[in-house]
């Protein structure tokens, strides 16, 4: 019988040992948008951050809406997201502090090279009208992410409500790169940040079935920001580590790293922490 007790104890110790080392103390937990992860930017920045500060960085890549929710629930220490209005509200509501600009790129409307709805070169409002008129497939993120928020705003700017129930309007509920892949399969149009689109082009070795059809208007500007979660609301938050990250990502060195991050010779993000 003593043998059995020994086996049970051994099993318990083994079980604890298996999940034990995972309970790391000193890591910084970030919630971020899918574009910073999908493009590989974070895989490139994280080791540099850890080397400079000694802090391991972990992140979950979710849409901006979900990221803000995670911050609100005190489940992460820092956010890197791209929905300036929602971010300002987040800070005004007391969930976060010290919001700073990090970098920007722009949104582009991509679609099949043949462009069945004939939107190439149009103003973004007209383009949305044309897509609705021709009932061309449009793939929406549908996940309350920064890109999704922007897309809904663009439908409204065009004087329409987002065509949720139309059969040509597909809500993927997935990350940006997945959504571009769905658009490729369905031969549809979608709104994406330029960085993720360049990443997609690079993964297809330049043989993309898409063309960038609408770009360059001021409504398509895409600003990324960093927010530290408010320790007064969330006592367990590692705001010391979060502030170190916020300082680091806006530092000259990190900003230079972001500017140097290129695929197919094109920069994916433009740093602008210093800009007023």
């Amino acid at each position: 019988m003593r043998k059995n007790r020994f086996i049970i104890a051994a099993v318990m110790i083994l079980g604890l040992a298996l999940c034990g080392p995972a309970v790391a103390g000193e890591a910084l937990m970030m919630a971020t948008t899918t574009s910073t992860d999908n493009t590989g930017l974070l895989d490139y920045l994280a080791p540099e951050f850890t080397r400079d500060t000694g802090i391991p960085l972990k992140w979950v890549a979710v849409g901006t809406g979900k990221a803000l929710k995670l911050g609100q629930n005190c489940d992460v220490d820092v956010l890197m997201v791209h929905a300036p209005e929602a971010e300002k509200k987040f800070v005004a509501d007391g969930y976060g502090v010290n919001r700073r600009r990090v970098m920007y790129n722009d949104f582009v409307l991509i679609g099949p090279k043949a462009d069945p709805a004939r939107i190439k070169g149009l103003d973004v409002r007209q383009a949305f009208h044309k897509i609705a008129e021709k009932k061309a497939f449009f793939i929406s993120r549908g996940d309350n992410s920064g890109t999704n928020k922007k897309e809904i705003k663009l439908w409204k700017l065009a004087g329409m409500t987002p065509p949720e129930k139309q059969s040509w309007y597909v809500q993927s509920g997935q990350g940006m790169l997945s959504t571009i892949n769905i658009a490729a399969e369905r031969g549809g149009y979608t709104l994406t940040d330029r960085g993720t689109y360049i990443k997609y082009e690079a993964s297809r070795k330049g043989k993309s079935p898409f063309a960038i059809l609408v770009q360059g208007s001021p409504e398509l500007f895409n600003q990324y920001g960093v927010i530290v979660i408010n320790k007064q609301r969330c006592p367990k938050v590692r705001d010391d580590l979060a502030r170190r990250f916020s300082d680091w990502i806006t530092s000259t060195r990190a900003q230079k790293l972001i500017a140097d991050f290129k695929l197919l010779g094109k920069p994916l993000f433009t740093p602008n922490a210093g800009a007023r």
Binding site: M1, N4, I8, V11, M12, L14, G15, L18, C19, A22, V23, M29, N38, D43, K58, W59, V60, A61, N73, C74, D75, Q174, G175, L177, S178, N181, Y200, S203, R204, C234, K236
Partner: protein, 231 residues
Amino acid sequence: MDFLLDGFVQAFTLLWRQDPAVFSAIGTTVRVSTASVLLSLLLGIPAGFVLGYAEFPGKRSLRTLVDTLLSLPTVFIGLLVYAFVSRRGPLGELGLLFTLPAIVIGQTILALPVITALTAAAVEALDRRLRPTLTALGADGRQILLTTVREAHFGILTAAVTAYGRVMTEVGISMMVGGNIKWHTRTITTAIALETGKGEFATGIALGLVLLAIALGVNFSLSLLKRRWQA
């Protein structure tokens, strides 16, 4: 079809070169699944024994309940565990969201009904005369439990392997409460889901092959064990 062939070629390259990201996901899956199965064996064997051995009022309803829990959807477990371990939840103080222990909790909930139901079935299938014989020999409760469990080891082993297969292949719990964090909580299945979505088939195929290999390995050693025991 080229991309599929390319995917396989690249997959073998990734495995051959021991790509660190691929091997990190494999390690995580093995650790987490093993921990959850061990934990559910520890809880499930006694529970299954009681359910299969003892007679008590409400036993049949309890049996039905456990059998129903066999088809508990993983996303529902994920949702439940998420709500409990989020810092706003009842277990929030522990800060478990997006860690391996959180996945282990979820997968234990997933595996427990499997172990319990199959152990109960194995115990029920034993010779009816075992119990009076043990009692006549003067065995106490704990001795009865241990002897019965030993007699039913075939069924329990099958239960363990079935549970292992279930937890190793689930995506919902790992994705929701693990968060698919690279180098930390990314498992084989969440990595496959992510890579396929991104259109990166090679990594997905490599990981899928590993998953199959593990399943094969586990089942092979099981049949080997069984043969040895029968001899």
